[in-house]
């Protein structure tokens, strides 16, 4: 399995508090992604990164920010958590080279509950 870890794995927080989720990889892959998964909505891309300090928005980026200061870490921050951000968050990586770049490796997920 690809070396991807997410922390924390579970978190309960209150509305209005900031939350940061961390994704760490040991594969030296160029691309990193954050998704959220909710019942009835499938997997939706929040933000992604194509290199250190190079990030871009996905389809559901409102209320989220990201940072990537080194290759191995990609942080997702909820500036002020809301109940609508209760979800399972997955991090993924890919090497972004040729057709192999379409193969993304996913982390174990973080279950976030905002009360």
């Amino acid at each position: 399995d690809a070396g991807i870890t997410q922390s924390p794995r579970h978190k309960v927080t209150e509305t209005g508090t900031p939350v940061t989720l961390r994704c760490h990889q040991t594969e030296n892959h160029r691309y990193m992604y954050w998704y959220r998964q909710d019942p009835g909505h499938g997997l939706r891309l929040i933000h992604y990164s194509y290199g250190v300090k190079d990030t871009d928005k996905g389809e559901v980026s409102d209320g989220y920010s990201v940072s990537r200061s080194k290759t191995e870490d990609f942080l997702l921050t909820l500036e002020s958590a809301t109940s609508s951000q209760t979800s399972v968050y997955f991090c993924a990586i890919s090497d972004g080279q040729g057709h192999d770049g379409y193969e993304q490796y996913f982390g174990p997920g973080t279950r976030l509950t905002v009360t």
Binding site: G42, G58, G96
Partner: protein
């Protein structure tokens, strides 16, 4: 991004072959077709990808007709452990943002 349409759910029995067809009528010339599998409480896992004709690996086969407007994922002799959600994605050339739809929930029964 090419829109994909696949059945919401399919039921099967152990030992049968499962075929999931995905429609992608507006696929572009250089787009690639990719399939993922997701078990409950886990992240998706890449299964197979292809551009045209047939691709086979140890897990599945992917059939793509000449017009590439659809693709069929074939799972041979399924077992209970193949119960999962299967996603069909069309990936634009050199664009590594993938769009996962709702997928097809495949339930294998004994």
């Amino acid at each position: 991004l090419a829109k994909t349409t696949q059945p919401i759910s399919m039921d099967s029995y152990e030992g049968q072959e499962v075929n999931i067809t995905c429609s992608h009528n507006n696929i572009a010339t250089n787009d690639y077709i990719t399939w993922y599998q997701q078990f409950p409480s886990q992240g998706p896992r890449f299964i197979i990808q292809g551009y045209k004709t047939k691709v086979t690996n140890e897990v599945a086969s992917l059939f793509i007709p000449a017009d590439r407007k659809s693709s069929t994922l074939s799972l041979p002799r399924v077992s209970l452990s193949d119960t999962a959600v299967y996603y069909c994605l069309v990936a634009p050339f050199n664009d590594y943002k993938l769009s996962f739809g709702a997928g097809t929930t495949v339930t294998v029964r004994a």
